[in-house]
Symmetry: C2
């Protein structure tokens, strides 16, 4: 083994000996079961004090590189190398496709690594020590203030920082609200049909059932909602997922009226409310009745889903229960990431990032529309004014649906259809694709649509 | 307002105009309700194209700084400044004390800001884009591998990275396991008496009751455990919280036997297992029976509680349910922090940090013992071999207990006693303090004990 030179200064010899031994065990040069010389022998060999060797053996025993049996000596432990089996990656990604049109993921290459790193450095330099302790379960005060200001101006919400709860994204917001509602006796929550099946799984984890409620091109139909008996509903009024519609003012009012009359609650899932291309964003529903609407948002589309960072604005009547639920789930979000986001929002970096994404995604949407027009003529596209996906209604002539999807899959094109997101089964034979485009470069979009068109047109 | 010079290059004039307007609204120089000139007028005034002004107005309307009423012009919005109310800090800290001896917090000034920042830079430079997407709910594979290796050598656990679940700390581990056990029909879980009352609150949030099970100086008493009918127990065998004992080998075996015979589970809360001062750490219980023992650990004591980062090793039979529970709670931990910790563990920085803390905390423990000996003679101290707190049994002569505590509080000394952590009420009149020392510098420890002694001895 490599050992520190006998001439090295005494205060450096201890750490150097420790590191040399560690490295020898890690690399396998000292194999498990090897007996080490006694501390007296090694000290004499190296010309160091016996105490230094004893301390080294003790430290490496504490770290698990060595083990010692009293009286019989010190050995190289097998534990350091026993956990050799590799970890598999279980992240939810579609594998084995040439082009993946599944909606829901932004372009991860747009994550502002330099800006995030700079903000992180600034945070590490300025954050006071006590802020590294057990956090405020509602979220870091400076982030709650920054987000409240940003959401008030961008989304038109009523944003009191004391009612804002930082959470790990919309999924956690749904689960937490599910628990709070269940504790209040709510057994069933309504979800939009079509909508995100994930909402149902999250509510189920909280012991709450979900019921599909039918949607038309203006929003939830008031009649079925009133007849459903649900205690709350989850809606995506700014850019409905997946249909892409924006709720009409009348349906917004009708929903809030239902909530007030039945003592019901609304969860507004504003998953992509910031991305609107052809006019200013529609203000959030929460701004119309903050006592009936809980509002949830996330950085998953604007920065990266891997950050697991989002926020919730909570009606006063539910606030204490929701904060306690957040506390028992994880004691609050990690503070460094919160401080970094606060820095980005306060200094304008977050608005810059949204502009950058908005430009990129509008260009991609236009590339997708052009490709569909060129390769799958007759396709009608809706829900194009906002968000990261569109509905592409491919004429029945390219079908039938099952053959269309099978051929796409064979050609390596991953697709989702409206049927994956609800109960509706239209009989007209058209194929209603839910096409995510934000994560694909314009050239990849064109290539993907051409590949798809060639596959479905072939014999 | 400050406006961009007419001579600036055209491609810079748009962003500059936007930023000048934003700053004017943010600073209040343009007050809410102010009507802006028409795009035609402003374009003429500035000598820029009308399109540039229109685009600027649209962008700032999207961001909420302006609002526009079709036909009647563009106004400064009030929304940007409406969320002015400040956010309060609800972090769980004892306020208003001169010295706080409450246990549970490490020295936050020891957080290795430079090493964390360097690892963060390295991660931002190397992490592939797809890793920023929705994460593996079990945790980043590279972190699971790094932790499995580290825990195997340091704590003697059986650590398969596929059975390791990264979570946000021991609190989340307890809550998740509570849900999994409740889904399997477990209604009551045993906890150590004395023990952490927080375990009871966390299990309650999952719908599971807890029952105190008596402890002696060797561990849980087998008789009451067998008679209790609980489906699982939570234990702290390496350094029992708060008594400070280390469980005997016999009691470890008896607990595992109970688990095998009753089909019960054990949660080993290894909250401070890495800090042991006078000999190598006791190996984790999980190493003896990984199919009956779930093991939970955290960086809260070694790095900072604010990171909300920990891990769990899960028996194979519970793994799928636990991972799904993690998924519905938050979809997985934030990936950047995970990658940073992986970097620190793999490159030796985490072991270095533990050595650094260990040295600091041993010195503080010794300072506390010396101060107690000097100022409160006759005090017997136990649980000193490990961890971040001790039990100090102050002789009855300084009491009675109520007066002792009242005087301490009056003098600005925050204290916890054994009675805060269980049902035991010893009748001997001695005052059993649970003294946290890791977060206090040696001088603060001496000052705090002197302050306490002066307060309780007075009149």
């Amino acid at each position: 083994m490599l050992l520190p030179a006998a001439g090295a200064p005494a205060r450096r010899r201890g750490p150097a000996l420790q590191e040399a031994l560690r490295e020898a065990v890690r690399s396998g040069r000292l194999t498990a079961g090897t007996r080490l010389p006694s501390s007296r022998e090694l000290a004499a060999d190296l010309g160091v004090s016996r105490g230094l060797v004893t301390e080294t053996y003790e430290q490496l025993t504490a770290e698990g590189y060595l083990r010692s049996d009293r009286g019989s000596g010190t050995w190289v432990s097998g534990a350091a190398r026993s956990a050799a089996r590799g970890a598999r990656d279980h992240a939810p990604r579609a594998a084995g496709f040439l082009v993946d049109f599944s909606p829901g993921t932004p372009d991860l290459s747009l994550f502002p690594r330099a800006a995030w790193g700079a903000a992180q450095r600034s945070v590490l330099a300025r954050l006071p020590h006590p802020s590294l302790g057990y956090p405020d379960p509602r979220g870091l005060p400076e982030l709650r203030e920054a987000l409240a200001g940003m959401l008030a101006r961008r989304r038109g919400v009523v944003a009191d920082p004391e009612r804002l709860v930082v959470c790990s994204g919309v999924a956690q917001a749904v689960t937490m609200l599910g628990f709070v509602l269940r504790d209040r006796g709510v057994r069933t929550v309504g979800v939009e049909d079509p909508g995100s099946p994930e909402h149902g799984r999250l509510f189920a984890s909280a012991g709450v059932e979900t019921r599909w409620l039918p949607l038309d091109e203006e929003g939830l139909l008031p009649g079925p909602l009133a007849a459903s008996g649900v205690g709350a509903v989850v809606v995506t009024p700014s850019h409905q997922f997946p249909s892409g519609i924006s709720w009409s003012a009348e349906r917004r009012s009708a929903l809030l009226e239902w909530a007030r009359e039945t003592d019901g609650y609304v969860l507004e899932d504003d998953y992509d409310g910031d991305f609107r291309y052809d006019r200013a964003p529609v203000g959030a529903l929460q701004g119309l009745d903050p006592e009936r609407v809980a509002y949830a948002g996330t950085v998953s589309k604007s920065l990266a889903p891997g950050l697991r960072l989002g926020w919730m604005l909570v009606p006063d009547t539910l606030l204490a229960e929701l904060v306690e639920r957040k506390r028992t789930m994880d004691l609050g979000n990690p503070v460094l990431d919160q401080a970094v986001l606060a820095e980005l929002v306060t200094r304008g970096g977050y608005d810059r990032q949204l502009r950058r994404c908005q430009r990129a995604y509008r260009e991609r949407r236009d590339a997708l529309l052009a490709a569909l027009d060129a390769y799958l003529p007759g396709t009608r596209v809706t829900g194009i004014a906002a968000g990261l996906h569109v509905i592409a209604r491919v004429p029945a002539v390219f079908g039938p649906r099952e053959r269309f999807l099978a051929r796409a899959a064979d050609a390596g094109v991953a697709l989702r259809t409206l049927e994956d997101y609800g109960t509706e089964r239209p009989a007209d034979g058209d194929i209603r694709l839910v096409v995510g485009y934000a994560h694909l470069a314009p050239s990849a979009l064109a290539r993907g649509v051409r590949l798809l068109a060639e596959a479905v047109r072939g014999g």
